[in-house]
C-alpha cells in the first residue's frame, strides 16, 4: 500500500489523541476547505508566558487533514505561540512523513492554516500563512 496511507496516518485518523473542544480556551479558530468541505476547529489553552498547555481539534474531513491536525497539535504542546508562528509547509510534511500532490497538500495544510490564523488573531485562514519551506 502507498505511503500516503501508512499506519501512522490511519491510526491518528481513527483514534485521534486530541479530538474535542476546550471550554474555556484562550485561542480558537475554525475554517474549512471549500473544495472538499473538510471542516476543522482548533482550541488552545496558553499560559501567561505564551506557552501552549492544552490543545484540541474538532470537525470532519479526510484521513490526511484529520491526522495532520492531530499530529500538529501533538507537536505544539509545550511550545510557545511564537514558535507556532514560524511553522510552515515543511513542518507539516515532516510530521506526516509523506510526499503529497497539490490537491492533497491542501488537506494536509488546512490544520496549520487554521492554527496560525488563530495564534495571529486573524479573521481568516489564508494560503500565505503556510507557504515557504
Amino acid at each position: 500500500m502507498d505511503d500516503l496511507y501508512r499506519e501512522l496516518i490511519i491510526e491518528h485518523y481513527k483514534n485521534p489523541y486530541h479530538k474535542g473542544t476546550l471550554e474555556p480556551h484562550d485561542i480558537s479558530f475554525e475554517d474549512e476547505n471549500p473544495l472538499c468541505g473538510d471542516h476543522i476547529r482548533i482550541d488552545l489553552r496558553v499560559d501567561n508566558k505564551g506557552i501552549i498547555k492544552e490543545v484540541a481539534f474538532d470537525g470532519h474531513g479526510c484521513a490526511i487533514s484529520q491526522s495532520s491536525a492531530d499530529l500538529l497539535l501533538d507537536s505544539i504542546i509545550g511550545k510557545s505561540v511564537e514558535e507556532v508562528k514560524k511553522m510552515d509547509k515543511q513542518t507539516v510534511l515532516d510530521l506526516l512523513g509523506i510526499e503529497l500532490g497539490p490537491v492533497r497538500l491542501k488537506c494536509a495544510l488546512l490544520p496549520l492554516k487554521i492554527l496560525k490564523a488563530g495564534v495571529y488573531g486573524l479573521g481568516e485562514a489564508t494560503d500565505d500563512l503556510v507557504e515557504g519551506g
Binding site: 500500500m1 490511519i10 472538499c36 468541505g37 479526510c62 484521513a63 492533497r104
Partner: protein, 415 residues
C-alpha cells in the same frame, strides 16, 4: 463474467477509438476511467478534426473571402448544423455556441431573464441543481429582487412533484432544472414538468449537461424553451457548449456580450444586432472546438444514441448490483431502473477523498467531493461523496475491478 460486447455494441472496438484508454496511470496499471460525468475522453476523430483545422485551414470565420476563411466558416457552420440535428432542433439558427452549459445558463439569466423578470417575480429551481443552475439565479435575485423557490428532493432522490405543482400555483415566470442529476443520476420527467409549467404560464430552461451525452434528446418533443449542454461531456473538446432555444424567443432576446460578429451595423454611439444565432456570439469564437464538437456528435450518431444508452444502462445496472453488495456502502439516488450512468456513494467511516485516492493507486479515476452540488449534499447531511460515472467505453470488467479496489479501501481503514 459476462462481457458486454454483443453484436449490436462492440465495446472493445469503441475503446480502440479513444487513444487515452491505452495508457497506464503507473507502469503496469491500466487506466479505468469512471469520471465521464466530469468530462469524457475524446476519440481520435475529434482530436483529428481539430488538428486538421489548425494544420490545413486555420482562419477566422464569417468575414474573410479567401479560401481558408471560407473553409473555416463552412466547417464551423456545418458543426452547428450537426449539433442542432443531434438534439432534433428544427433549425440550425436556434443553436447558439457558448463556452459550456454554465455560460448557456448565464446567457439566459443575463438576457432573457433581465429583460423579462421584474421585482417579486418567481423563478423555480430544484434542490438537486449543479451550482451552475443556482448561482446565476442567486446573482439575479440580488440585482432584480426576484424570488427563488426550490422543488425538494425526496429521500430516494427524486423531485417532489407535489410541491412542484403547489409552486406552479404561484405562477412562476421560469422553471429551470436539470434533466439528469450529476450526483443522483435521477432522470427527471422533463416532458411532464414542462407541460405543467407551460400550463401555469412559466418558461422552461433545462440543464442538459448530463443528458445530451447519454440519451437521445429531441428538444421539440420535450417542448422546453431553453436547453443547455457542453461538448466536453459528450466526447467533444472543452471550451465549447451550446444553448438551444426556439427561434421566436431568441429573436426577442437582447444580445449577450457586445463586440464583433454580433452586430449588423455599428455607429459611433449605437449598433444594430446581427441575426440569430450570431447575435449571441460576440468575438472570435472557439472555432477549432466548434469543429471538434461537430465531429463528436457525428461520432456518437455513427454508433447510435439508443445503443450507447443501452450499453450504459447495462453497465450501470451491473454496477448497482455489485456495489450494493459491499457492506457499509450508502448509494445516493434512485434504483437502477430509473437512473443515468452516475453512482455517488459514501463508505461509513471513510472520507470520499481517501476512497478516491486509494482507488487511484489501482488506476481507477473517480471523483470525490460535492460535485458542484453543495446544497444537495446538505440535503442528505453529508459533506461529500465519491462518484463513479460511466460512458460508452466502460466495461463490466472495469466495474469488477472497482468493487475489488473498494474492498481494499475498507481493508486499509480496517473497516
Amino acid at each position: 463474467m459476462p462481457e458486454l460486447s454483443s453484436a449490436h455494441f462492440n465495446v472493445e472496438k469503441i475503446r480502440a477509438d479513444f487513444p487515452i484508454l491505452k495508457r497506464e496511470t503507473k507502469p503496469g496499471i491500466p487506466l479505468i476511467y469512471f469520471d465521464s460525468a466530469a468530462t469524457s475522453q475524446k476519440p481520435d476523430v475529434v482530436i483529428n478534426a481539430m488538428d486538421e483545422y489548425y494544420r490545413n485551414y486555420n482562419a477566422n470565420i464569417h468575414r474573410g473571402v479567401h479560401t481558408l476563411a471560407e473553409e473555416a466558416t463552412a466547417h464551423y457552420e456545418d458543426s452547428r448544423t450537426a449539433v442542432a440535428r443531434f438534439i432534433h432542433a428544427n433549425n440550425a439558427n436556434e443553436l447558439v455556441f457558448t463556452r459550456n452549459t454554465t455560460e448557456s445558463i448565464n446567457l439566459i439569466a443575463y438576457t432573457w431573464a433581465r429583460a423579462n423578470l421584474k421585482k417579486g417575480d418567481l423563478v423555480v429551481l430544484t434542490e438537486m441543481e449543479h451550482h451552475s443552475n443556482l448561482v446565476p439565479w442567486q446573482m439575479l435575485a440580488v440585482e432584480k429582487e426576484i424570488r427563488l423557490e426550490f422543488i425538494p428532493v425526496t429521500e430516494i432522490g427524486e423531485l417532489d412533484l407535489q410541491v412542484f405543482n403547489k409552486l406552479l400555483e404561484q405562477e412562476p415566470k421560469l422553471v429551470s432544472f436539470t434533466h439528469i442529476s450529476n450526483v443522483l443520476g435521477t432522470i427527471n420527467p422533463v416532458k411532464q414538468m414542462t407541460f405543467d409549467a407551460h400550463k401555469a404560464g412559466a418558461m422552461v430552461l433545462v440543464d442538459g449537461a448530463q443528458s445530451v451525452p447519454h440519451i437521445p434528446i429531441d428538444v421539440v418533443d420535450l417542448g422546453v424553451d431553453f436547453y443547455a449542454f457542453s461538448a466536453h461531456k459528450m466526447v467533444g473538446p472543452t471550451g465549447i457548449g451550446a444553448l438551444w432555444a426556439k427561434k421566436e424567443i431568441l429573436k426577442e432576446m437582447p444580445p449577450f456580450l457586445g463586440g464583433g460578429d454580433m452586430i449588423k451595423r455599428v455607429y459611433l454611439r449605437s449598433f444594430t444586432s446581427n441575426d440569430i444565432p450570431h447575435k449571441f456570439e460576440a468575438g472570435t469564437p472557439a472555432i477549432a472546438e466548434a469543429i471538434g464538437f461537430g465531429a463528436a456528435v457525428d461520432y456518437l450518431s455513427s454508433i447510435g444514441m439508443d445503443k450507447i444508452n443501452k450499453h450504459e444502462q447495462e453497465v450501470t445496472q451491473y454496477a448497482m448490483e455489485k456495489l450494493s453488495s459491499i457492506k457499509k456502502i450508502n448509494i445516493l439516488g434512485p434504483g437502477p431502473a430509473k437512473r443515468g450512468g452516475v453512482i455517488a456513494f459514501t463508505l461509513d467511516g471513510i472520507h470520499p477523498h481517501d476512497v478516491a485516492q486509494i482507488l487511484d493507486l489501482d488506476g481507477i479515476a473517480v471523483r470525490a467531493g460535492h460535485h458542484c452540488a453543495m446544497p444537495l449534499h446538505d440535503r442528505y447531511g453529508i459533506p461529500a461523496s465519491t462518484r463513479a460515472s460511466f460512458y460508452l467505453y466502460n466495461t463490466v470488467g472495469e466495474v469488477d475491478q472497482l468493487v475489488l479496489s473498494l474492498e481494499k479501501v475498507k481493508k486499509v481503514f480496517g473497516e
